[in-house]
């Protein structure tokens, strides 16, 4: 089959975009997601959508394709462009423009029969007009009504279709541009922005664009969450890529501003415990029935959330006490301020002019180790009530001394 820029299904491109953007060092033969043919096809698609950001180098295993994007160099998330590549039939595009042209004003109300009659005028423009049967047009009208592009209303036994009123969004263009980058499911904002004149006024720092690829999963989970529904999910394990089915009550979306990872935190129905799932490991989501105990579960997460450093609930439900003291000079008050602004669920106590103590009781203290390490050169004391975690911190520190030849 001839190559087409447009695609039917987003799942495959989601996998490859992640591969090229996050990793970008594996060759065609090493990426075994599907087949060599599908690799070539998806690489070409991504090159079409993001050509200016794509590069390659020759490694020992062959050509390695990568996407390299400085997030500050784009006013809009470049990965959104893949969401605008859905394929369509000749009939789809004909009906889209013709239907909306026939119903070009909100005060034009027509039945399906009347629409079909007016369509004749459009058909007569062409020597070999497209023939669409009644059911195709009915399905399209139904689809557009469900999407909100058209409104149907009953007058007696007649069903009339018309355009809905369209809000004037020009005064909010800057806001939409901003939220399309920083809000969850921002790709929807990007769709809106496509209908408005372009002018960029924002740049972004610490901006993680990878969330774009998980937008569908994110949207479905947030919608299930808002309605208090169960969600059946197909997930894959990180290393072995084994697929498993699970059902959760989604309660909150947890987003990291420091690495862009997104997690759905909720009650795992099968395991009967609070859990978090990374969105990039969720293949699909199907909303289920309303969970009668939604409020109680949400309340439980609110309580447990007071002891979450990141997204891990640890094992066994017990809390670990973490405590460390940092020292700083007279002109280094910003270190104290750093503790205050980065403390999350912890507490900071000023011990003296030049020292401060941080304390927290958390479900998983291993999640805290990277942050504690960022205070290396100032840590005066450290105690973790889980001895294994405390040992891990000091073992790692000793390994770093050795690695950088820091002698006693």
């Amino acid at each position: 089959m001839a190559y087409s820029e447009l695609i039917k299904n987003f799942d495959r491109i989601r996998t490859y975009m992640r591969e090229f953007y996050v990793y970008g060092f594996r060759s065609r033969s090493e990426i075994s997601e599907k087949s060599i043919r599908s690799y070539d096809e998806e690489r070409r698609h991504i090159e079409d959508y993001l050509g200016e950001h794509m590069g390659f180098r020759i490694g020992p295993e062959g050509k390695q394709v990568f996407l390299s994007i400085d997030a500050r160099s784009s006013a809009h998330n470049p990965l959104y462009s893949a969401w605008k590549s859905k394929s369509f039939t000749d009939g789809d595009i004909f009906l889209h423009f013709t239907l909306l042209d026939i119903l070009h004003d909100t005060d034009i109300l027509l039945t399906q029969q009347e629409i079909m009659e007016r369509m004749e005028d459009y058909n007569s423009f062409f020597a070999n007009p497209i023939t669409l049967d009644e059911s195709t047009i009915r399905k399209k009208l139904k689809e557009y009504t469900q999407l909100g592009l058209l409104v149907s209303e009953k007058q007696g036994r007649r069903v009339l279709y018309h355009r809905p009123p369209r809000p004037a969004l020009l005064p909010f263009r800057d806001a939409i541009a901003f939220f399309s980058e920083v809000e969850s499911c921002g790709v929807v904002g990007s769709f809106l922005l496509d209908t408005l004149p372009e002018e960029d006024v924002f740049v972004y720092k610490h901006h993680y664009i990878t969330q774009a690829m998980d937008s569908q999963v994110c949207l479905q989970l947030l919608m299930a969450l808002r309605e208090g529904r169960f969600a059946a999910m197909k997930t894959v394990t990180r290393r072995s890529k084994i697929q498993r089915n699970t059902v959760i009550t989604p309660l909150k979306l947890y987003v990291s501003t420091q690495n862009g990872r997104q997690y759905i935190v909720g009650w795992d129905v099968l395991e009967k415990q609070m859990k978090s799932y990374r969105l990039d490991y969720i293949r699909s989501v199907k909303p289920g029935e309303v969970d009668a105990d939604f409020k109680e579960k949400k309340g439980l997460l609110l309580e447990m959330g007071k002891h979450l450093w990141g997204v891990s609930f640890g094992t066994g439900g017990s809390l670990t006490h973490v405590e460390f003291t940092v020292g700083f000079g007279a002109y280094e008050q910003y270190i104290y301020e750093r503790l205050l602004r980065e403390r999350r669920c912890g507490k900071v106590e000023r011990l003296s002019q030049n020292t401060a103590r941080f304390t927290a009781d958390v479900y998983d203290s291993t999640e805290m180790l990277p942050w504690i390490r960022s205070f290396i050169c100032r840590i005066l004391e450290l105690h973790i009530s889980d001895p294994a975690v405390e040992k891990k911190f000091f073992d790692d520190l000793n390994a770093m001394y050795e690695m950088y030849s820091v002698d006693t």
């Binding site: 970008g24 060092f25 809000p167 806001a175 939409i176 720092k205 993680y208 290396i376 050169c377």
Partner: protein, 310 residues
């Protein structure tokens, strides 16, 4: 449904072409230009024949169209629900002047996709900007207006050594999700600089009103001008953690052997201290190998820590 042809690049581009055709302004050359500007790399190969061969029945071979009333498509329920969601974000107040988004008639009965309370930015810093503060909002709006106009502003700024005044041209607003802060990038008599919005006491229309100044995105942003090379062992999922953590920077990664990788990062020199801290947080999984000056920055901190233990 998120993945729909309604939002597609092709529909958007065809819409532009049909408007031009309706006005009798479409030529094959113009068609190519518009497709190049709005669609993908190879789109012309599909769109032009599909339109000019009457395959899509939207235009004839003479580039005339029966679609003569075309207006922008209505917004979908999904789009309206997204608007309702952002209308409830506290940062929305920064943008609203006469009309509030949530008060638009078309959004009154719309349910939001989700609420701000449904999303937790768990590692965001706690001293974010005061979005509800009226003075802050006024400063934000003044700067936004000046950026659009390319006009000058006079700023009173609370710096580390007291209040200073600057006459400058703001050209971009920079937002950091991690810091939850806006900064403004400005051009002034001594070059360019970045000011924290929350520290601006006052921003008034500038005295240099006769001039205007605009900057393209490529000029506006200082790209990664420094390089740092890391080597890592893929233990405790270090490879993925490092690559995701630094995903926002321009970078390349290569496999050295089984579990060893080399990652090259390009960063802005002004962010060097932050990068040192971030690399330290990965512990012994990551080792800086180049440049030597960066290796020394890590080493100095380790020395200082070692001294504290003695």
């Amino acid at each position: 449904m998120l993945f729909s042809e309604i939002y597609s690049t092709y529909y958007k581009t065809v819409s532009i072409l049909l408007k031009l055709a309706a006005k009798g302004e479409l030529t094959e050359k113009r068609m190519r230009q518009e497709i190049k500007a709005h669609a993908y790399g190879e789109s012309a190969l599909t769109i032009i024949p599909a339109l000019t061969s009457e395959q899509w029945q939207l235009m004839n071979r003479e580039l005339q169209t029966p679609i003569v009333h075309q207006k922008e498509r209505p917004y979908t329920n999904l789009e309206l629900r997204f608007l309702k969601t952002i209308s409830q974000d506290p940062r929305m107040a920064l943008f609203e002047t006469e009309t509030r988004l949530s008060e638009l008639e078309e959004l009154r009965a719309v349910k939001p996709l989700f609420l701000p309370e449904d999303v937790v930015y768990f590692d965001q810093y706690l001293d974010g900007d005061p979005y509800r503060d009226h003075r802050y909002q006024e400063v934000f709006r003044r700067l936004l207006k000046s950026i659009h106009e390319g006009s000058a502003v006079d700023i009173l700024y609370e710096g580390p050594r007291g209040i200073k005044s600057y006459s400058c041209f703001p050209y971009r607003l920079e937002y950091s999700e991690k810091d939850d802060k806006f900064r403004v990038l400005v051009k002034w008599s001594k070059g360019t600089m970045t000011l924290n919005l929350a520290r601006i006491q006052e921003a008034a229309p500038g005295t240099e009103q006769a001039q205007t100044y605009k900057m393209s995105l490529s000029q506006a942003v200082s790209y990664g001008n420094s390089k740092c090379v890391l080597e890592l062992v893929d233990e405790r999922n270090a490879l993925e953690r490092v690559l995701l953590h630094f995903a926002h920077l321009e970078k390349t990664a290569e496999q050295l052997d089984g579990r060893h990788y080399r990652v090259t990062l390009l960063y802005d020199h002004n962010d060097e201290t932050e990068l040192v801290i971030r690399i330290l947080s990965f512990g012994p999984m990551v080792r800086v190998v180049e440049p030597e000056s960066f290796v020394n920055l890590i080493r100095e901190r380790l020395y200082a820590q070692r001294k504290l233990e003695q």
